[in-house]
Subunit: 302 residues, 2 copies
Amino acid sequence: MSILVVGSVAYDTIETPREKRDRQLGGSASYFTVAARGRVPVRCVGVVGEDFRQEDLDLIAASGGDVSGIRRENGPSFHWSGRYHADMIERDTLATELGVFADFRPEIPANWADDEYLFLANIHPALQLQVLEAMNGPRLTALDTMNLWIETTPDDLRAVLAKVDVLLVNDSEARQLSGRRSLVHAAAAIREMGPARVIVKKGEHGALFFGRDGVLAVPAIILDDVIDPTGAGDCFAGGFMASLAAAGADRDSDDAPFRQAMIEGTVTASFCPEGFNVEGLLRTDDEAYAARRRVLLDMMTP
Amino acid sequence: MSILVVGSVAYDTIETPREKRDRQLGGSASYFTVAARGRVPVRCVGVVGEDFRQEDLDLIAASGGDVSGIRRENGPSFHWSGRYHADMIERDTLATELGVFADFRPEIPANWADDEYLFLANIHPALQLQVLEAMNGPRLTALDTMNLWIETTPDDLRAVLAKVDVLLVNDSEARQLSGRRSLVHAAAAIREMGPARVIVKKGEHGALFFGRDGVLAVPAIILDDVIDPTGAGDCFAGGFMASLAAAGADRDSDDAPFRQAMIEGTVTASFCPEGFNVEGLLRTDDEAYAARRRVLLDMMTP
């Protein structure tokens, strides 16, 4: 039982009103793997450049990630740079230097093609489709995407969407992809494109799960302080997929394990903004996790 | 056991992308009373002008409201006019004609001063305080306010806030009143001003209850279609207060009846946007209410 994740392994330079951090560990696959917290083995497929520090790969490995699928290429690592506004929600992208990620062609090691859970983090949908087709029929595939692909490669996106089980998007992406303003209409339209289940992430307002048999609304856990929200969506995905894999769920399961996974994803994601890069995630332990899970369930109990 | 509500009884002219309605029944006290659905007697204190149609007063009375506290004065009724954007959330105020409401001085009929539940809808905070002081110590007082009073009459607002048990505001008002961006910090700051319980309404994202012993997050019920969202906040208050009054709760109760009242307020408010003015509320019955209550609880159950 393991999860294969394909995504970016990168450096982020993040500026907040209080602090700036240069070239720290980032990227969707990194956040996803650290967030899974070793509950289920995660195999990472990605690419880094010559400048990537071995200690950062070691950190991913220490969190239970198999990093042997992360190739090192000649050139600089993917580097994203952004500045958060005072509200710690809005942000401006200052630079996106793709580096070796520009020519990323995911290669699935032969003995990884049997992995049962597949998370296609936000990369070009044509690459997502190639990965999916290189696998030997995973039990469950979830996919993340972004406005760039919705706008520029809609046909590629539709092709891969037709073959995945779960889509994770934020509310504006759900509206853009479906052309519908109401989230219930947007989710219904997206489900017609392929994924039987749709998760709409709403940041500080939590997330909605549109399943086969109903809707679950999970609030975001209210945080005392937000240091750096970058990566929270990928952390949600890590907690979500780890929960499904640990439960042995697949696309034919009823909604119950998915609803449960929404809780675990939300709890996991809540630690992310409490530190820069993966620091907030690394500081947590089973006790802190269980305590926060109780807080969330109490927030949902009339 | 009855609820006294003091607020506006008005005419609204509402324009949406699909339709326009002229001078239809509106005002916080009207919505509040119709929303309470006769579960608890509601006594309305307000003022209308010569132009106010008797059939509209009759409609409030038919919903269980005692309208004998609504005085008729010489002059035009309060008239608000607004236009909704395509998202049915943002709106522009086109006109606010206060009419007889400009000189509204609430007078509490002598035998109403013993009412145990008091809802101070959004009017000038100095008037809210006068009403509160004219009462013989209600068991529970809730208050609504708006950005206008936060900005222009902060001292009056602080004076009345110090004496109420529950404050209902939207998220931007909570931030403005407290000067804090984080809603948990905002709620904590507001509780220091007086109200032991604070409800932060977030529109399509639901509402947060900050109680003595924890936080409850209630999602908004997802609607198939939004016709006119005007008044939904007052409908929430009507359902909320009716639930508390029916339960016999007071300020010394634990959080349980307040958390329950959050559910009833949310279910009640969900019918409001499904029709113009109070039409959505009037169309509902016990069966529809119970069905929607089940939908909401299912949305909150992992």
